[in-house]
């Protein structure tokens, strides 16, 4: 294939190359490239303005000069679309990161069409995660999009890893993990842990981590989605999709937006933030052929939950798990903020009366406890009424009960992980609320699986 020269570079900045075209056959999302000191540098076309186009470079542009010849690649951004994706690790542009090779060369463009309304399928069974606080307050369904919100350092990644560990074993189908703008160390650890656990061959991984430029961080997600779609559409599977972290995609888009000198909205986000998020989220859906159940970690910048990017992403979700720094500070992990953690399944018709009323009652206890805390700070515990004293002590028990030793956190806690069945959770919660556990020291509930204590062992 002869190389097609389409123009020359006329300006260079860190993330934006403009090219004066000699040939007018370039469209948005085409891949162009130049040779600089023997190295190939690729860009993707982002904007056209008459004879001049702006493109985002994938590699470092140090040393790039004006006047270099620009060539056009035959195809746009592609990734493997075949059975060999499992057990492999890709970078954002679809190249393999490990020492594997792929023989069958079937690829597909990473920008697929979105699904039509007709194709989308809503039915799916309940998916238990074995994590008490999640199954109780925010149960999952196949095909759900669950957000995992939390500021920096409150335990998002640990929870994601625990979910992979637990859900994966239950569902027994393949999964795709997309690392977007997160730590490379954690990416490597995940890879090592999965391969040690023998789970890697059921998983395809894409990494565009935080040490890489914004082009890489914004493309990883499209590559990952293409892999998930392959498993859903061609293999008819129920796919688990983990995105850690979807906020970083929006963040990378803001960086590109600024380099293209487009006017931003508040906090520097791109004006097209809503459509950029929809481009991704609308592809994550279930069809008659298979489902995609996704867990999406969402970083909250500056602990600000009203942040535009966070709000835009959460409108697409079926539920959310919110992690809270104040809970983490007390050493209660997973540090879930139960007031803001919800799921569309918390509906009397879907999970049944018992579960539904227990959730309501527990939330009532929690909110009374919050009020009591303030009273106690002034008056002391002795001044509480008998009913309030019960609420106070029982909520503290519940709070401790909803902590859990995690399989993947054994290193931090030194306690082995536990998977807890929903029936046990409901029984235990009922016992605590009804007063059967009164008088038991609250520390007995800390970091346990199900509670045996006063009741007959089932």
């Amino acid at each position: 294939m002869a190389e097609v020269c389409v123009g020359k570079i006329i300006s260079v900045s860190e993330l934006n190359i403009t090219v004066l075209l000699t040939e007018n056959k370039v469209k948005i999302r085409d891949i162009l490239y130049v040779y600089n000191k023997g190295q190939k540098i690729e860009f993707e076309v982002a904007e056209e303005d008459g004879e001049v186009i702006s493109a985002i470079p994938f590699q470092s542009v140090i040393g790039l000069k004006k006047g270099l010849d620009v060539f056009k690649a035959e195809k746009g951004l592609e990734i493997q679309y075949n059975d060999e994706i499992l057990g492999k690790v890709f970078d954002s542009y679809g190249s393999l990161l490990d020492e594997n090779t792929i023989e069958e060369e079937k690829k597909r463009n990473v920008y697929a069409r979105n699904l039509s309304l007709e194709e989308i399928n809503l039915n799916g069974g309940i998916l238990w995660t074995g994590i008490k606080v999640l199954d109780f307050f925010a149960p999952m369904q196949k095909g759900f999009k669950m957000g995992l919100l939390g500021g920096a350092g409150v335990g998002k990644t640990v929870l994601i890893k625990e979910l992979i560990h637990n859900v994966y074993t239950g569902l027994n189908s393949n999964s795709v993990f997309v690392g977007v703008g997160e730590r490379s160390r954690e990416g490597k650890e995940l890879y090592d842990e999965m391969s040690e656990a023998g789970l890697l061959d059921k998983m395809a991984v894409v990494f565009g981590q935080m040490g890489e430029n914004s082009a890489a961080r914004s493309k990883a997600i499209f590559s990952g989605l293409t892999l998930a779609e392959y498993l859903r559409d061609e293999k008819n599977q129920d796919v688990l999709l983990f995105i850690d972290n979807i906020y970083r995609y929006v963040q990378a888009m803001s960086e590109i937006n600024a380099e293209l000198s487009r006017i931003p909205i508040e906090n520097g986000y791109p004006a097209n933030i809503a459509s950029a998020v929809s481009d991704v989220e609308e592809r994550i859906n279930s069809t008659e052929k298979g489902s995609i159940t996704s867990f999406q970690a969402i970083y909250i910048p500056a602990d600000d939950t009203t942040d535009q990017a966070v709000q835009t992403i959460t409108t697409h979700l079926d539920g959310q798990i919110v992690l809270d720094r104040k809970v983490a500070e007390k050493g209660l992990y997973p540090a879930v903020d139960v007031f803001n953690t919800t799921s569309k399944l918390i509906d009397i018709e879907k999970i049944g009366e018992r579960h539904y009323y227990l959730v309501e009652e527990v939330l009532r206890y929690y909110s009374r406890y919050r009020e009591l805390e303030e009273i106690i700070a002034v008056l002391g515990i002795e001044e509480l009424s008998a009913a309030d004293t019960n609420v106070f002590y029982r909520t503290r028990m519940l709070r401790n009960y909803f902590t859990q030793p995690m399989f993947v956190a054994e290193n931090y806690t030194g306690i082995k992980g536990e998977f807890v069945a929903i029936d046990d959770i409901l029984d235990d919660v009922e016992d605590i609320l009804s007063g059967k556990c009164d008088g038991v020291d609250e520390s007995n509930f800390l970091f346990i699986g199900k509670y045996h204590g006063n009741k007959k062992d089932k």
């Binding site: 300006s11 260079v12 900045s13 860190e14 470092s60 542009v61 140090i62 040393g63 790039l64 000069k65 004006k66 006047g67 990161l97 490990d98 020492e99 500021g151 920096a152 350092g153 703008g181 730590r183 490379s184 160390r185 490597k188 650890e189 990494f207 981590q209 935080m210 040490g211 890489e212 914004s214 961080r217 963040q251 803001s254 960086e255 937006n257 600024a258 380099e259 931003p264 906090n267 520097g268 986000y269 910048p301 500056a302 602990d303 720094r325 983490a328 500070e329 007390k330 050493g331 805390e373 106690i376 700070a377 008056l379 515990i381 002795e382 290193n411 806690t413 030194g414 020291d441 520390s443």
Partner: protein
């Protein structure tokens, strides 16, 4: 002699015929503090080093259609519009010599105490490519700082990035300095990167490291307040680039960056002066990437070497949830939060044990320490919380379990206190804390 000159001229002519090594000349058309606009440079490369009016040095930050932008690195004389700008054909690099260990240097390879350049300077690329994910090894070897609150409760491993964050005067730098001093005889090279520290600060640091015999294996890479801001901006990158080359030789390196909040502010200043679009709190939208690519250099390399990074961030009013702090927390492998309240109460090191985190936890401790650390952390955190809730309750009416745990908590608190330059070995820490919770192991 004349043949010498003739040869020189011939060589130059030959080069010109071969189109090599002809230095382009342009002219300054605009001066905006330390950002220059230059016209007439058609073939200059992005990031190329240029010389302005034979006395000052800068590098190309953007190539536009009709002009290029140059950021000044060194200015010895005033710059006028119309001054000549000459290209050099070299990318802008930091200069460093291995002989510089034990000295205070800048990114141009100059000893800042003596004002002389080192010999055998080698160029170090400012921006090296990210360390590939598959070249990374597991972070698991314990890195001892000699501080019980860290080594036992929030441990650090070789290759970890652990943020030290807190208000002014809460002992942030001291913790990093203690960690450096504790590396004596451990075969670790320490690089202290000063960003916008006063000359007095740096002199004090140098003297105290000297007194402790820690300068033998320490390099102070310093940008002063009165250096051009682009120099301050690049100093951490240069430091990590130097650290990376040591790591690739199999060496363990400790890097302290003091501090990243100042670095973020410098980046904001440069970006706004270069007319870039501002984002949250007027920081440029790439502020996260600015720090993430820097701190992602910290790792345990699969071939043995490692870079451990202790970045420092200064907060205001104890608020660690502001934009820059949370950004950096989301990059590092944990944070050590220092609290002014504890500092004022004399509880030093003033670690806020509730807010501090080590994401690696026991993975970077040996077996015994891990077991002890887990028990101490759990007991101590629960003590801090109980103390707060029950502070008005009558101690005599509490359950015996609770009285016991309050008593243990107080003993732990006492044993966590430690003054500067008084490192404790792992064995000492084990002994001290086993006395309190030993029976539960």
């Amino acid at each position: 002699m004349s043949t010498f000159i003739e040869n020189l001229v011939n060589a130059k002519l030959r080069n010109m015929k071969n189109m090599n090594n002809i230095y382009e000349v342009g002219h300054v058309s605009k001066v905006k503090d330390y950002i220059l606009e230059v016209v007439g440079l058609e073939a200059v490369g992005f990031y190329e080093r240029v010389v302005i009016a034979n006395h000052s040095v800068g590098y190309v930050t953007a190539i536009g259609k009709n002009s290029v932008k140059v950021a000044l690195l060194q200015r010895t004389n005033a710059i006028y519009v119309g001054d000549e700008v000459v290209t050099t054909g070299f990318d802008f690099c930091a200069m460093y010599s291995k002989a510089a260990i034990g000295h205070i240097v800048d990114i141009f390879g100059e000893d800042r105490l003596l004002g002389e350049k080192f010999e055998n300077l080698k160029p170090y690329m400012i921006e090296t490519p990210a360390i590939p994910i598959m070249e990374r090894g597991e972070v698991s070897r314990p890195f001892y700082t000699g501080i019980a609150g860290i080594d036992l409760i929030y441990p650090i491993g070789y290759g970890q990035r652990q943020l030290i964050i807190g208000d002014k005067k809460t002992g942030k730098t001291q913790i990093a300095v203690d960690a450096i001093v504790n590396q004596k005889d451990r075969n670790v090279i320490c690089i202290y990167i000063a960003v916008n520290k006063t000359k007095k600060n740096i002199r004090e640091l140098y003297d105290s490291l000297m007194r402790k015999g820690a300068m033998e294996y320490t390099l102070i890479l310093a940008a002063f307040n009165d250096d051009e801001p682009p120099v301050s901006f690049f100093t951490p990158y240069a430091g990590l680039s130097i650290a990376e080359s040591y790591m690739r030789e199999g060496q363990d390196v400790l890097v302290v960056i003091d501090d990243l909040k100042a670095h973020a502010d410098i980046h904001r200043e440069i970006s706004l002066l270069s007319d870039k679009v501002p984002g949250r709190d007027a920081y440029p939208p790439d502020i996260f990437y600015t720090h993430s690519r820097l701190l992602e250099k910290g790792c345990q390399h699969k071939d043995g070497g490692s870079i451990t990074i202790l970045p420092i961030v200064e907060t205001r009013g104890g608020d660690i949830t502001d934009y820059i702090s949370t950004n950096i927390i989301s990059i590092t492998d944990g944070q050590l939060v220092l609290s002014r309240k504890s500092f004022e109460k004399g509880l030093k090191p003033a670690i806020n044990y509730g807010l501090s985190v080590s994401r690696l936890g026991g993975a970077v401790q040996d077996k015994e320490m891990k077991k002890l650390g887990a028990v101490v952390r759990r007991k101590f955190l629960s003590y801090l919380e109980t103390k707060e809730v029950y502070q008005l309750a009558n101690v005599d009416e509490m359950s015996p379990e609770m009285q016991q745990s309050l008593k243990e908590g107080e003993q732990l608190q006492e044993r966590l206190l430690q003054y500067k330059f008084s490192p404790r070995s792992a064995d000492e820490i084990m002994r001290d804390f086993k006395e309190v919770v030993g029976k539960e192991l």
